[in-house]
């Protein structure tokens, strides 16, 4: 089975045939490879959320189709046929902790697998594994999820999604509202899920540093159309183009650009702080000699 996501000429229109008709996605064709870390960037209203909602059949295309891990979804697909897909794709929406409800952390995480027909013991075992995977300390497992800090509550919610054992994890601004430390820890955790658990990650974000640091594939949307798809170095290689489309640069690239304007020759613009530091260190050592 081909484990990837393919959009073929997919369009989605809200409220077709009414005065409020809105073409949220137009003629989107793209492929997201299995076990890739894809970032989707674009403005509010560019179609990011609409695109995400197609991935597990929350929305069905108005025209065109998409194929997720071998399963085709088009206009005619019935909801009944989407059961498997919804296990395949795990969604972490903004502020997922708002969906916690159980008495204890462990019960909350095991709710999904129990619903899928696992026994109590199996479900609790899965919950323990997933709690470990999101770095929740053992001593919180029997606590009420509502006694935890914001960052920990969010981990519980994410563990609950992982307990459904998806292959694809969709993250919609997953670090919104966390402090910088919580944000770094959370992004590192997703990196581990990507590297060790071999999940395919799809991240929607405004944070270009995260795109530069973690993604290997970038999809740029603008007004419902696919503007560009490529690796981060391609996407961020043209500051003028980014500016024209009101997209930001990673901090490192913006800083490197300023150095370049002052006459320091860095050859190509680095995307990450480590790369820039290495280049500068090499240049500085040459000066010393």
């Amino acid at each position: 089975m081909v484990m990837s996501i393919t959009f073929e000429k997919l369009s989605y229109t809200y409220q077709t045939g009414t005065p409020f008709e809105h073409h949220a996605l137009q003629d989107i064709s793209l492929t997201i490879a299995d076990h890739s870390y894809t970032a989707i960037i674009g403005h509010t209203g560019s179609g990011k959320s609409t695109l995400l909602q197609h991935l597990n059949g929350l929305l069905k295309p108005t025209s065109g189709k998409l194929v997720v891990n071998g399963q085709m979804i088009d206009t005619k697909t019935k909801n009944k046929q989407l059961g498997d897909l919804r296990h395949e794709v795990g969604f972490v929406f903004q502020f997922p902790e708002a969906q916690l409800f159980e008495e204890t952390v462990l019960k909350d995480i095991s709710f999904g697998p129990k619903n899928l027909g696992k026994s109590e013991t199996e479900a609790l075992e899965i919950a323990r594994q997933k709690a470990k995977l999101v770095n929740l300390p053992d001593d919180v497992l029997e606590k009420s999820p509502f006694e935890l800090s914001g960052g920990q509550m969010r981990r519980v919610a994410i563990a609950g999604i992982l307990a459904m054992q998806p292959n694809i994890l969709v993250l919609d601004e997953p670090t919104a509202g966390l402090d910088p430390k919580g944000r770094i820890e959370m992004m590192e955790m997703f990196k581990q899920l990507y590297e060790k658990e071999k999940l395919t990650i799809i991240l929607v974000t405004h944070n270009m540093n995260d795109v530069a640091n973690y993604a290997d594939n970038v999809i740029v949307l603008e007004q419902g159309r696919l503007l560009r798809q490529g690796v981060p170095t391609e996407i961020f290689s043209n500051p003028e183009w980014l500016n024209k489309h009101h997209l930001g640069l990673p901090q490192t690239t913006a800083f490197a650009l300023k150095l370049q304007e002052r006459g320091i020759n860095l050859q190509e613009l680095p995307l990450t702080e480590k790369k820039l530091a290495q280049k500068l260190a090499a240049l500085l050592q040459r000066e010393v000699k």
Binding site: D179, H206, K258, I264, L276, A277
Partner: protein, 279 residues
């Protein structure tokens, strides 16, 4: 300039048996016209402090004075006319059917005359650069535009102090830049006292003064430059490390000798240029 907010020995517990109080003996005096950034990790007490100043919670110990008036049950409504609050999520702050109606809402509640309201709505929307959207539906605006409308609603009530509670954290990069610029304008041109509760280093950098909270206590109170020089420790304080500082650390790890003092972005660029462009 005189103090517009004076806080003495303020202690607050959410529940009487909380071992660690949410606010622990806070003493703070904020001058009129000052821009104060309050930083700290999640749960350090930042938002609790803002709520206490606005009289949304009643402290068990200590006093708060706003514009010379001591906060109490009798004075809380007067005190609130001095303070405008802008929150994190603009979507949770909308009540009006169009932008104008939304900005007018607070004034309607205060029973302000219609002709005066019309005038103030116009002024407030001009101040945030949103007059051309007066008749638009708030839901159709971008995040930054929504936040500007929320700020207009606050300005229309003519407060002296505007408190921004993580008001830039949910915006896209353009909206984020936009609101920071507007905050600066409100402070320097319109002379509002600004309190910004934030994790954002760019926002904190614009403040006159940065107060760091940890477990409900003030653990540092200094200029942004002095606070930013703490490098990696900033992460534990709930702030990002400013980019030049973190680049400096990377360079130091590669055995480059770096200056000890805090460098702004300009300062860092100048330093690198001096070393690399000698001729």
């Amino acid at each position: 300039m005189s103090a517009i907010i004076e806080i003495e020995n303020l202690t607050y517990r959410y529940a009487p048996d909380d071992i660690i109080p949410a606010l622990d003996n806070i003493n703070l005096s904020i001058k009129e016209g000052q821009w104060l950034a309050i930083v700290g990790h999640n749960g350090s007490g930042k938002s609790t402090l803002a709520k206490a100043i606005d009289g949304l919670i009643a402290p068990q110990e200590g006093t708060i004075k706003v514009a010379g008036i001591k906060l109490s049950e009798d004075t809380v409504w007067d005190i609130r006319t001095n303070i405008g609050m802008v929150f994190q999520n603009p979507d949770n702050q909308f009540v009006g059917a169009d932008v104008e109606g939304d900005v007018a809402f607070g004034m309607e509640n205060q029973g302000i005359e219609r002709s005066e309201m019309v005038k103030r709505v116009h002024e407030a929307l001009t101040a945030v650069n949103m007059s051309q959207f007066a008749k638009h539906e708030p839901v159709r605006l971008s995040g930054g535009q929504k936040q500007r409308v929320a700020i207009a609603g606050v300005l229309a009530l003519r407060p002296n102090i505007v408190i921004f509670d993580e008001s830039t954290s949910m915006l896209d990069p353009e909206g984020h830049r936009d609101i920071i610029k507007l905050m600066k304008k409100l402070n320097t041109e319109e002379k509002f006292t600004v309190l910004s509760i934030t994790h954002d280093i760019d926002e904190a950098a614009l403040a006159d003064r940065v107060v760091v909270l940890d477990n409900g206590k003030i653990i540092a109170d200094d200029s942004p430059e002095k606070i930013f020089a703490r490098g990696q420790q900033l992460i534990d304080l709930g702030l990002d490390v400013p980019y030049p500082e973190s680049l400096k650390q990377e360079l130091a790890q590669l055995d480059v000798v770096v200056p000890k003092e805090y460098l702004s972005e300009e300062g860092m660029i100048d330093w690198l240029c001096r070393l690399l462009l000698k001729n």
